[in-house]
């Protein structure tokens, strides 16, 4: 039931059938502004697309932790448009400023986007005003001398040498700087204790 399975079926179906071609999985997720698993639930009549989008937006927001950040996918969900349209919208001058860039992806406070959508006034922000508080995986790798694959595996397997992210936004993990620095300090302490003990 993966997107790859569907794509293989769609390719074969479009090649062998004279009927109207079906779109590939990426177009489905892009157009509905949903992840594949949520799109499947809608396709299976488990829920309406609007309900899935609402729940998915909540899930995206909560995965970013206390900051309640969203990326372009979240913007698409708030405005009820596809991701391409959302991407275009975010480039307009009247659009709220992004507060940080996480692993190359711009992110916004959800409340700013919702207020902009509702047409209510929002606090004026400087682009990247949250950047100094955010550490992305590239910086973590540089600081710890790890390659990205090792870091991902370490996080996944909950290794003590890999700090658990504070959250994720647009599918990119991030760490709050104060939490990451706290973790570095604890690690230093652990290491010196281990050295003394050894």
């Amino acid at each position: 039931m993966t997107r790859l399975d569907y794509d293989a079926w769609a390719k074969s179906r479009n090649e062998s059938s004279a009927e109207r071609p079906v779109v590939v999985g990426a177009t489905v997720t892009h157009g509905l502004a949903l992840s594949w698993s949520w799109a499947l639930r809608v396709a299976d009549f488990e829920m309406e697309v609007q309900e899935a989008q609402r729940q998915y937006l909540d899930a995206l927001t909560s995965s970013s932790g206390t900051l309640e950040l969203i990326g372009v996918s979240g913007v698409a969900l708030v405005f009820g448009v596809d991701r391409t349209t959302a991407q275009v919208m975010t480039g307009r001058t009247a659009f709220p400023a992004h507060v940080a860039v996480v692993a190359g992806a711009r992110v916004w406070y959800r409340k700013d986007i919702e207020a902009h959508h509702a047409g209510t006034s929002i606090r004026r922000r400087t682009a990247g005003e949250l950047q100094s508080q955010i550490v992305d995986s590239a910086e973590v790798c540089r600081t710890l001398g790890l390659n990205p694959g090792t870091l991902i595996a370490g996080i996944h397997n909950e290794r003590p040498w890999a700090p658990q992210p504070s959250g994720s936004v647009s599918g990119k993990s991030f760490w709050l700087r104060n939490e990451f620095e706290q973790w570095l300090g604890d690690r230093k302490l652990r290491r010196s204790r281990d050295a003394k003990g050894g």
């Binding site: 109207r20 157009g31 509905l32 499947l40 809608v42």
Partner: protein, 145 residues
């Protein structure tokens, strides 16, 4: 979406899909005869449509014979009686089988619209110019599931 935004093909499909089943079937037949050279192999879809068309034609003969008013189709019992009198080729059971239910056969004859399946709705919306509707994205996924 406003009709003006549709292409001529989308507009034609939209109007065609609003027709009663018998008219849609006739459009299918005319276009099929026009586009496909005589003697081409019959596909499963065209066979099924032809069989349904034959079943509806029998039902129509019975309705005319029974002098039913427009918009009314015979019951199974009335059809069976008319069939014996007219020597129609299909039994009521055969009609039911071809239409997967007497009700659908009756709706096809009377022009009453039956409830669309989700798949039909997706196809109609995608083909008739309702662009970027979520149904269009899901047509393939639903076919695949």
């Amino acid at each position: 979406m406003a009709g003006g935004n549709r292409t001529p093909r989308e507009e034609a499909l939209r109007r065609c899909m609003e027709l009663p089943w018998l008219d849609m079937y006739e459009v299918w037949q005319v276009l099929g005869s026009y586009l496909v050279p005589a003697g081409a192999r019959e596909t499963d879809t065209s066979r099924q449509l032809r069989e349904r068309g034959e079943a509806t034609a029998c039902l129509k003969c019975a309705a005319v014979h029974l002098e039913l008013p427009d918009g009314q189709a015979p019951t199974i019992a009335a059809y069976t009686r008319a069939r014996a009198e007219l020597d129609l080729p299909l039994t009521s059971r055969q009609i039911e089988t071809r239409w997967e239910g007497w009700l659908f056969a009756k709706q096809a004859l009377t022009g009453e619209r039956s409830v669309e399946t989700p798949g039909q709705r997706s196809i109609r919306r995608a083909a008739s110019g309702r662009r970027r509707n979520h149904e269009e994205y899901l047509t393939g996924v639903r076919e695949w599931l």
